[in-house]
Amino acid sequence: MIPFMFAISVVAFLLIQAPPGDYLTTYIAKLGESDEILDQASIDNLRARFGLDQPLYVQYFKWVGNILQGDFGMSFEWRQPVSDLVWERMGLTMCLSFATLLFTWAVAFPIGVYSAVRKYSIGDYIATTIGFIGLATPNFLLALILMYIGVVHFGSDVGGLFSSEYKNAPWSWGKVWDLMKHLWLPVIVLGTSATASLIRIMRANLLDELNKPYVDTARAKGLSEFWLIMKYPVRVALNPFISTIGWVLPNLVSGAVVTAIVLSLPTAGPLMLQALLSQDMYLAGAFVLLLSSLTVIGMLISDILLVLLDPRVRYE
């Protein structure tokens, strides 16, 4: 775990250093557009002030050292501490991810079980068709359609996670309620494709398990069909659900940038994109590092849950 996190921090740092130039190059170019020329002395001065003149490894250790003390550095672009910028965004991202995960499970689990147990029934065909459509539809397109429907037919305020009056207000019950009202749209948009694939996985897994001899054994014991299926094959087929915890986070952040921009969600994706574009290295670095760590933690959690759920894994 610890060596892994260390490796991640190195990679994250190298990644944000990889594009040619640094924040100053971008900054100078920007100034150049508005006809302001900086002389070499002030560039060097700035460079020294930001610590950009030092060798890479020195910069790296400075960065990591500060992070260990909870200081992610200053954002060049926003002139604010990175942590202030990041925490708000990460909090909302986590909240959105978690809601999406719950939505995905809540929808995929019953539909997956149903379409496996009633294989080739009308219901299975409908679920399968919807599943394929869900898989094939790009998220941003779905977002646009749902926004259109929301605005035109329900007259609701879509886009973003808060109404304008709450946007900069401190947290309160009103704000939480407002968040809930806005959350459903991105949750559906982001959850659809994951739900569709999870339905397929659940169906395929359960179909494999349904014909296993232990199901017959349980039936021969006199167990009712519903409990039989719930207790035995579903339990075994559940593993992929647990594994989704690990991949839902990175998926949401990397795959959802376009959706987040379309829906103007104040999540991590758009800000990270902006930070990368302007080579705002400390901000970008903090994001890359946090997201990677969350992925690792997510994987760890899903592994631990898997061990708790499946004694065969424990036995190994």
Binding site: P213, T217, D310
Partner: protein, 568 residues
């Protein structure tokens, strides 16, 4: 305790009358059972015998009204009369209803063939037995747990208090089957249906399970319906026999009547196939005395190391092959016999260099295979071929028979084009298949035909030595002798040498000139087959032979069975 009901032959506890089962296919209804009738009696064992596809298992499931889809019961009655008071027609009950569920597990228990997969891998043994108990008896969890421990004790599982909290994969095959029996008997059913309960087990374990079932029957006085394809097992356990072929009951009657005076040709064929395996094949060609050795194995060792942790430290070493030595003459068939886990398969794979042995000598016709490099192994593998146990798994389902058989010829650049086709046709004729079948895929063939395809592939390169790993274990008895006869014919024609790995003494006796008995990675005894079978020296060989069922009911109980315990 109740002698008159125990032996009450006039009032069967369960009657199957004219049972008809169809499979509802796209092409229409396709019948798999045609008017099957038989009775089960309290305190008696009825064996249902037949080869795969004869409809034995589907009959068993019909009794519990759980015929798998797309099967439907479309005729006949199954009446259940446990107390002699009134009949229940099981086929008339709703398959998902409460009435049939009370009978399943409560009055009629069932055990299945595969002890490996018939228990849930993610629930403890205790959990599953407790569930069975609480479904039918009004007891609380603690009481049910106590009853589960009792049930495990009854089937002679050591440390039942601890075993109850174990998972099925922590048990051996025999222990799992014991747990299955404990579960099926936990509610004291009136009828026990056992669907090939010993087929997946070693002979020694099989003998123990059969003894256990017999003693539990005397204790509990239940009726047993025992499904098997093994006439030896029938002779050991049955009171009544029902012979099934292709969904028909062709013959039924008392055990002695069936064995001494079988009426139907199919019964005679089944018995004949078993009897033939009682002695060496007549067509066997013994190598002449002056033949030289083709293979010499000396002091072969292979260890499997279990590595754990970040630094891959070796935490456990299994000596799979622990100092094995033997020689094989040209044209000779050497059998290797032993239980699962004895290392017999591993020895075979070491010789083919599928595994790399840790130390020892493998001298194949003067070449040292231990030191052979890749190029030399490619050469030697043309002459040393393998045949595997499962003809369903060892053929690629996406290749035609022609592609399968031609593959070794193409890979070694021996033939191509029309010549290749001719050779494949010739090989198919040699193994007794029609060459016009070569464009078909393996799924179009039966188990016996597939094993012939496997044999054709093995002899395509005209090998000198064939390592056959349980080549007949997955086959029905009548097909088993056919495949063995084919191998004998090829041995005579091509002068092949065989290493024949099997757990089945009868097959070894039929086929092999000499036999090596393996136990825990070592050869405990090696010699002429007949001599070892008639006069075994090592106690393990004696124990192994004592477990083989004798296909003669009049000799039942004449032999003392025992299990070999190695000294620590």
């Amino acid at each position: 305790m109740m002698p008159q009901t125990l032996m009450d032959t006039d009032n069967p506890i369960l009657r199957v009358q004219n049972l008809n089962i169809g499979f509802n296919m796209r092409q229409g209804m396709f019948d798999v059972l045609h008017g099957v009738s038989f009775d089960l009696h309290r305190g008696k064992t009825t064996c249902i015998v037949g080869e795969s596809g004869s409809g034995k298992s589907v009959t068993a499931r019909a009794i519990l009204n759980m015929v798998p889809r797309p099967g439907v019961i479309n005729g006949g009655r199954i009446t259940f009369n446990p107390d002699g008071t009134g009949e229940t027609d099981l086929t008339a009950l709703d398959p998902r209803g409460k009435a049939i569920r009370d009978i399943r597990g409560g009055r009629i228990g069932m055990i299945f063939q595969e002890p490996m997969s018939s228990l849930s891998p993610v629930h403890t043994i205790g959990n599953q037995i407790v569930e069975a108990i609480r479904l039918h008896q009004d007891v609380d969890k603690a009481e049910a747990r106590q009853m589960a421990v009792e049930a495990l004790k009854q089937v002679e599982i050591p440390n039942p208090d601890k075993a109850v909290d174990r998972y099925s994969f922590e048990f051996s095959g025999g222990m799992r089957q014991r747990a299955m029996i404990a579960m099926a008997l936990a509610c004291r059913p009136d009828v026990l249906i056992a669907d090939e309960p010993t087929t997946a087990l070693d002979v020694t374990t099989q003998a123990e399970i059969i003894d256990l079932m017999k003693s539990l029957q005397t204790e509990l006085g239940m009726a047993i319906m025992f499904i098997t394809h093994d006439m030896g097992v029938v002779a050991e356990i049955a009171d009544e026999v029902v012979v099934m072929e292709k969904g028909h009951v062709v013959e039924k009657g008392d055990i002695h009547q069936i064995f001494d005076a079988p009426q139907h040709p199919y019964t005679q064929k089944l018995l004949g196939a078993v009897k033939r395996l009682e002695e060496p094949a007549e067509a066997k060609v013994r190598p002449t005395g002056d033949q030289g050795d083709i293979l010499r194995v000396e002091d072969l060792h292979l260890r499997f190391e279990k590595k754990e942790g970040f630094f891959q430290r070796v935490t456990d070493v299994t000596k799979a092959v622990d100092g094995v030595s033997f020689t094989l003459k040209r044209g000779e068939a050497l059998g290797i016999v032993g239980e699962s886990g004895s290392g017999k398969t591993t020895v075979g794979r070491c010789i083919a260099r599928v595994y790399d042995p840790n130390s020892g000598v493998i001298d194949y016709a003067g070449q040292d295979l231990m030191a052979a490099g890749d190029a030399q192994l490619r050469e030697s593998r043309k002459q040393i071929r393998m045949i595997f146990q499962d003809p369903f798994a060892s053929l690629n389902p996406r290749m035609t028979v022609k592609q399968i058989i031609a593959e070794p010829l193409i890979v070694n650049g021996i033939a191509s084009g029309q010549e290749l086709e001719d050779r494949v046709a010739k090989l198919l004729t040699e193994v007794g298949l029609d060459p016009s079948m070569m464009e078909r895929y393996p799924h179009a063939f039966s188990g016996g035909q597939r094993q012939r395809i496997v044999v054709a592939r093995a002899i395509a390169l005209e090998p000198k030595l064939v390592i056959a790993d349980e080549p007949t274990s997955a086959l029905d008895v009548s097909i088993r002798t056919q495949v063995l006869d084919l191998l004998l014919k090829l041995q005579a024609e091509m002068g092949l040498s065989f290493i024949f790995i099997s757990h089945d003494m009868a097959v070894i006796r039929y086929f092999c000139d000499r036999v090596a008995v393996m136990y825990q990675g070592r050869i405990v005894e090696i010699g002429e087959t007949e001599q070892i079978i008639t006069d075994p020296q090592h106690p393990y060989t004696k124990a192994l032979l004592s477990s083989v069922p004798i296909p003669d009911p009049s000799l039942r109980g004449t032999r003392q069975r025992h299990r070999y315990q190695a000294d620590a």
